[in-house]
């Protein structure tokens, strides 16, 4: 018996039990679809996150407090640290420094009330974050010095509070009840790795610190540093470390701060999303396994039902291997059909998830890679083969006389 013949016969016999074959295939379809969709969504999410991190700019450094647990007396990052880093003599590779504090507070106008991210920032923040303005101006040095009650708002805030995006200069909004005058509206950014970047209100750092976001000792949440150019990122990082070690007196021990470059973030995000993808894919693979057990079950039933047929085939000259091939072909075909349909279904699911995400302003383009397709096909066929081996062996090892006597 050649393989072509075996396949035709297998299709005929699967066809004779359409309902049963269909349900068995369904088990594999769901498993494969889950694997494909999870992998696609996972790698789509990875692309989105790394993409939005890359969008930050390759010459950016983030300075956070914290680090090793061994530090005896960890010091917070302060406004003073930021000013020291900004010193062109101590840190010649640093171009701009932007300290940052932030908190989620309620913003109201008229009857509308929303919760937004209130950021205390300095004028440098505009350039460091590559922001641009739809209208008006960003926070100026005078605003900082005067602790002015002025705000530069994101479009989501504009939409929700005013229902428009222009002609807002001079309007007043209240943050935690305190009045602020709108002096600018930011160009929309869309969703990103750090949540919506449009639901924000930027106010002068000094104002935030003194009136809204109380932090002891001039503390900042983090400091954004822009290096002179991409090549000087590492050198800038080194200079910042020197300055902070001196100021925090941790020259000898471990650092009480951490500096991340864009690449560090990308690497971290990638490893997190990879773990996530593997985790999701693993869970999906379990359902594929369950589908495989379904195949085994149905093949065992089929062997029992067709014991007489197997006996007859042996009586007219079928060898063990012929029977083995016959049943393995059937189980592999089941899983292969399931695999192909599952790839299609998984692809559709991933696509729909992508549509839902973009409808919610989150850019997520699921990626169905060739590797995922290959993996799913090979894996599902292997499942069919593996779970088919036991029933097929059982059939092949039947003694012809006993099989023929079977009712």
């Amino acid at each position: 018996m050649n393989i072509g013949q075996a396949i035709i016969e297998a299709i005929e016999s699967l066809n004779a039990n359409k309902m049963r074959s269909g349900l068995t295939i369904l088990g594999i379809v769901i498993g494969v679809a889950a694997v494909i969709a999870m992998l696609a969504i996972g790698s789509g999410a990875q692309n989105t996150i790394t993409g939005s991190i890359s969008g930050l700019g390759s010459n950016l450094l983030f300075v956070f407090r914290g680090g090793n647990d061994n530090v005896r007396n960890p010091q917070p990052l302060t406004r003073g640290d930021a000013e020291a880093i900004a010193d062109p003599f101590q840190a010649p590779s640093v171009a701009l420094v932007a300290p940052y504090i932030s908190s989620n507070l309620s913003v109201t106008f008229g009857g509308e009330s929303i919760s937004s991210s209130i950021n205390g920032v300095t004028p440098e923040y505009l350039e460091v974050r590559n922001y641009s303005l739809l209208e008006g101006d960003f926070i100026s040095e005078e605003n900082i010095l005067g602790r002015s009650s002025v705000a530069v708002i994101g479009v989501e805030v504009a939409d929700k509070l005013y229902g428009r995006r222009d002609g807002l200069i001079g309007e007043t909004l209240r943050i935690e009840g305190q009045p602020f005058r709108v002096i600018g509206v930011l160009t929309p950014r869309g969703g990103g790795a750090f949540g919506s970047e449009d639901n924000i209100v930027n106010i002068p750092f000094s104002t935030a610190q003194s009136r809204l976001i109380q932090r002891s000792n001039d503390r900042v949440d983090f400091i954004l540093v822009q290096a002179v150019n991409t090549d000087l990122v590492n050198q800038a990082s080194e200079e910042i470390s020197q300055i902070l070690r001196a100021r925090h007196r941790t020259d000898l021990g471990a650092d009480d701060f951490q500096i991340f470059s864009q690449q560090d973030f990308v690497a971290t995000a990638q490893s997190i999303t990879s773990v996530l993808t593997i985790f999701l894919g693993g869970i999906a693979a379990i359902s594929l396994l369950v589908g495989g057990i379904g195949i085994m079950n149905i093949m065992l039933v089929s062997v029992t039902e067709r014991t007489r047929e197997i006996g007859l085939r042996k009586a007219i000259g079928a060898r063990k291997r012929d029977i083995l091939i016959q049943f393995l072909t059937e189980s592999s075909l089941l899983s292969m059909f399931g695999g192909i349909l599952g790839i299609g279904l998984g692809w559709s699911i991933a696509y729909i998830v992508g549509l839902i995400a973009s409808a919610n302003n989150t850019e997520l383009i699921p990626v169905v890679g060739l590797d995922a397709i290959l993996l799913a096909t090979i894996f599902s066929t292997a499942v069919g083969l593996f779970f088919g081996i036991y029933p097929a062996n059982r059939a092949a090892n039947l003694q012809p006389v006993e099989a023929l006597r079977h009712e």
Binding site: M1, I316, L404
Partner: protein, 229 residues
């Protein structure tokens, strides 16, 4: 010198049923001449089917020698047994044993497939079906055929590889007397025209009398032979 197609020496088949040993065949010595037609008779449980299964290479004896067409069967491995069933033996069962989803043609072709023959299968199968008088039923499935016709398909299947011997275990047992007689006539004519050796197990004296030699079995032993006139 006789030309034996089958020789058995002290052939035994025991079944262990717990403590009890069932001696289904208890030392059978049998020679069957090539080209002859032989019937085996005996009461129910006397070991007729057991003997047929051994002679048809469907089972292995517990003890004894069996030489089929000059080859020691007792020493064959599984694949060689399968090949012997395919080439040397054609089986006709009481209950037809056709594949119900396949056409008559496909059923008859099946031994050729397992025999690894790739060319002219269809042609040969049609010839075999024509030889049993079913040339106009090749695309019918077993459910679309009468019992007698189904047994004809089974005979065509047994014939297709030109076996040295055809074993028929109560081939007319499931048929009414009219189609039973037709099947017997067909089997007898195969023996005449093709010179195929045929062994028939039967309970029917009338059928047995049409053969050249009747072997009587009782309690797993050959207890007598007669030659009908």
């Amino acid at each position: 010198m006789n030309d034996w197609v089958i020789e058995t020496r002290n052939l035994k088949k025991f079944y262990k049923m717990g403590e009890i040993e069932v001696r289904a065949l208890d030392g059978v010595d049998l020679n069957i001449e090539r080209g002859s037609i032989v019937s085996i008779m005996g009461p129910s449980g006397s070991g007729k089917s057991t003997l047929m299964n051994l002679l048809g290479c469907l089972d292995r004896p517990t003890e004894g020698d069996y030489i089929l067409d000059g080859v020691q069967v007792s020493q064959m491995n599984d694949d060689q047994l399968a090949a012997a069933r395919n080439h040397l033996v054609g089986f006709v069962f009481q209950s037809f044993n056709l594949l119900s989803r396949q056409t008559a043609l496909a059923n008859v072709e099946l031994p050729l497939r397992y025999g690894g023959i790739t060319n002219g299968r269809k042609q040969k199968a049609i010839e075999a079906l024509t030889a049993v008088g079913l040339g106009d039923r090749v695309t019918h499935r077993p459910t679309e055929l009468s019992g007698g016709q189904q047994q004809r398909v089974a005979i065509a299947r047994a014939l297709i590889n030109d076996p040295a011997i055809i074993m028929a275990d109560e081939p007319t047992g499931n048929l009414d007397s009219k189609s039973g007689k037709e099947i017997m006539d067909l089997i007898l004519s195969l023996n005449k025209t093709r010179k195929t050796t045929i062994i028939i197990v039967t309970h029917d004296q009338n059928i047995a009398r049409q053969t050249q030699r009747i072997i009587n079995l009782s309690d797993g032993k050959v207890v007598g032979e007669e030659v009908p006139e």
